[in-house]
Amino acid sequence: MAPHTPATHGIFQNVLTLDGEVIRSAEQTIGYIHRAFEKLAERRPFYQIAPLTDRMNYCSAPINNMGWHMTVEKLCGIETPKRVDYLRIIVMELARIADHVICNSVIGVDTGALTGFTYIFQQREAIYEIFEESRGARLTTNMGRIGGFERNFNEAAWAKLRQFIKVFPGKLQEFENLLVRNRIFMDRTINCGPFSGERALAYGFTGPNLRACGVDYDVRVADPYCSYNDLDFIIPVGESGDTHDRFMVRSQEMKKA
């Protein structure tokens, strides 16, 4: 299969061995969008690398951004105030929701259900409006600074955040009702691509994909950064590691966030 796009901006080539219509083996060619961040970072000061980190995963840009700033703080031994930590948690959890909204709605599109996608994407828009209000940028926000933030949330951003917290759970439930117990969706995701916990660890899975395989590891609990240890929350864990479990773990994580 030629370079095509199984996910936006994640193109890779699949070299397949076919036996009639059955795929016997596949070899992946990746690297079409390698952007050499390491080489760029060789000769730049720390603060000039921050905008690059947004581009590592533009669906949840602030998370990698904060990751970079926390790394630099670690290297320099900078202590951050609680307010910065909590504001970071708010921003990162919003970004997590925005990212999971994309994953979970697009799996619906891929299995033939476009409707849920069009509804839940309005909520992603609401998150981007919060970012826009506090930062002026929506997608790649470059929001953090070493030791804190470029600027505080303003009153309008807080108001939008409160509104979002009020509205989102209902909208998410509405979206789930469209998919979770849908016969076609279940048929197309349950037992599709299952992974055992051992295999997932051997292949280096992390995050929700690892938890979907039944490994109860979340770095926010096991090795808490950014004052996550002040918060009390539940880590959803899957069982069989198939696509349906990956969907459910992400969905539960949105509720917990």
């Binding site: 292949y203 280096g204 004052s227």
Partner: protein, 169 residues
């Protein structure tokens, strides 16, 4: 919160066990921020990593990458190991001279190492003996250089239309 928390007792346990098992091949150890760094030799790197996995519960290979120390003319290999149960991470390092950049593969112990070693070959030119499919992974196959070595220029040296002197490139 403070920038990091040090797990000193776990670090000490790892140092004690590895020194007892490998003696002089554990060249040195230091702590950079919250992470223990163990400098070892190419000869025992594989055994050290294996020992960490089997005896010290480091079940996860977070990452593995090459390094180019241009001032010493050596290539290094860095492995990040993580123990999920103990919430503990360490870093293993080993160096080889630039003219003979060969390491034993770690793919027999961790499947994750497969692509990581291909990346180290692709960008630093480190060879891994015993790797099942050691070819370039991100760059095109006929790429003429190992681009993350320090002597490879950041800008395309053949271009004349750019003046980037003010950005210090």
């Amino acid at each position: 919160m403070p920038a990091f928390v040090v797990k000193a007792d776990r670090d000490q346990l790892v140092i004690d066990q590895l020194t007892a098992a490998f003696g002089a091949d554990i060249l040195s150890h230091e702590r950079i921020a919250d992470m223990l760094v163990i400098n070892t030799t190419k000869k025992v790197l594989h055994q050290v990593a294996q020992h960490c996995k089997e005896q010290l519960d480091f079940n996860f290979l977070t990452t593995m990458c090459g390094m180019h120390y241009s001032e010493r003319d050596t290539l290094g290999l860095v492995m990040h190991l993580q123990s999920m149960r103990k919430g503990h991470r360490i870093r293993l390092k080993a160096e080889v001279p630039l003219r003979e950049p060969v390491f034993p593969t770690f793919t027999d112990a961790q499947d994750t190492a497969n692509w990581m070693e291909r990346e180290a070959w692709d960008f630093f030119g480190i060879q891994f003996t015993g790797h099942p499919n050691l070819k370039r992974i991100l760059n095109m196959e006929d790429f003429p250089a190992f681009p993350l070595r320090k002597d490879y220029p950041l800008e395309d040296p053949t271009r004349e239309d750019k003046d980037d002197s003010m950005f210090g490139r």
